[in-house]
Point group: none
Chain length 244, copies 2
Amino acid sequence: MESLGHVLVVDDDREIRDLLGRFLTKHGYRVTAVPDGKEMRRAIADWRIDLVVLDLMLPGEDGLSLCRDLRAKSQVPVIMLTMMGEETDRIIGLEMGADDYLPKPFNPRELLARMKAVLRRAQCAPAVPVTARRTVLHFAGWKLDIGLRRLESPQGLIVDLSAGEFDLLVAFVEHPERVLNRDQLLDLTHGRAEAPFDRSIDMQISRLRRKIEADHTQPKLIKTVRGGGYILTEVVTQDETLDT
Amino acid sequence: MESLGHVLVVDDDREIRDLLGRFLTKHGYRVTAVPDGKEMRRAIADWRIDLVVLDLMLPGEDGLSLCRDLRAKSQVPVIMLTMMGEETDRIIGLEMGADDYLPKPFNPRELLARMKAVLRRAQCAPAVPVTARRTVLHFAGWKLDIGLRRLESPQGLIVDLSAGEFDLLVAFVEHPERVLNRDQLLDLTHGRAEAPFDRSIDMQISRLRRKIEADHTQPKLIKTVRGGGYILTEVVTQDETLDT
DNA sequence: CCGCCGCGGTTACAGTCCGTTACAAAGTTT
DNA sequence: AAACTTTGTAACGGACTGTAACCGCGGCGG
């Protein structure tokens, strides 16, 4: 089934993670569930995330600052889970920029409804102008900051690429709508010199897809050409150098 | 005998599979019986299915989510089998979109009657407008999504084709009402270049027929011309590019 | 009538390609 | 030095596809 979005659940309670994982998966979402803020950052760096469900109370870093953190860097929608009746309820509305919040214990269907609403609202969010003074590549709604090897998703999420992933992506962007086989890709990324065993390209492709494809099992951007290689499709590239 | 339809029975109980298999076969249906959801998907991908009889309780993936899955993707009629008196009864009416359900243990004749009713209703289902923004080919009630290599049957069932099956079908659609021999088909699908032993076309034809013919033992669409090749018949093709 | 043969449908199987997870090695940061 | 990141390699599994083999059918000559 076409996924409704990739949800990142952040909660230290393992049972809740499992429960929500199963429930949301059953309802058509892809789910990654992690226990703390550190894992959260890791997941965000490794996957394309459409929505974050964040527990307020976490060991170590608390959910509130994590939320503010997300807000500062991106526009990923966030739904906070809070303890019933806590005073935080009021604080939440005022202080932090969660898109919605839900007191525990909650009915999973309630969460589902809120998620739908939040995601719908997020669709209509206006595009954010790039403020950095830097060379930027636009393609398919993404912004690729060349200096920082940093991607900004259409949802505004910041994704850092490793050197290898970045080189690969650049190779594709510089040869749009062309099928590139593994040798060509090795040339373009490693400069022909070394010829490691192989399958290394496949790995980088896999890792890159996880970061930029909404559904890496049905890639829309980087497509596989069986027996041929890979191709970056449906892309309108556009260079830009900003000086503001 | 002309088959009344291809029924897919999904039940983990082997005895029930055998029983229903024999019973329904005796009454003029073609039957495929499988034990779990995985096999179900496989069968749906491999055969043209007219009706699914689905047990609610299955090991692993439960029938409920499988049912919703089917609903989401297609309009294949589904009849659910449930345990008598279980709480599921209530859920069923509300949650899942089965066309009918039957409490176990049931009288096979009862099932037969429901099947007839459900199939009759399904016949009159209105055509669904294609909403995707994509090039679509219509022929003989089928819709062929070229970008996704995906077929939608007149009943709305989604069938994914492999690259080879897709190429073959396109070859036929592009040469309607023409007998194509195996060499021509090899040209059209493999680009003349390679000439594998042979019989490969026969295999692809066989696989394709299983997916798109109501009764692959008496093909209505792709007919065999003994000594000549194959022909796609009774087809009104019609291109379409949607932009809504 | 009977056996042989060509033809085609289907099953079974093997080979290939690819996606992904896990892990190890190397480099980097703290 | 310890912790972490990056990246290549191995390995498992699934999807696809060509080849072989078996079967059935119909024609044909004996």
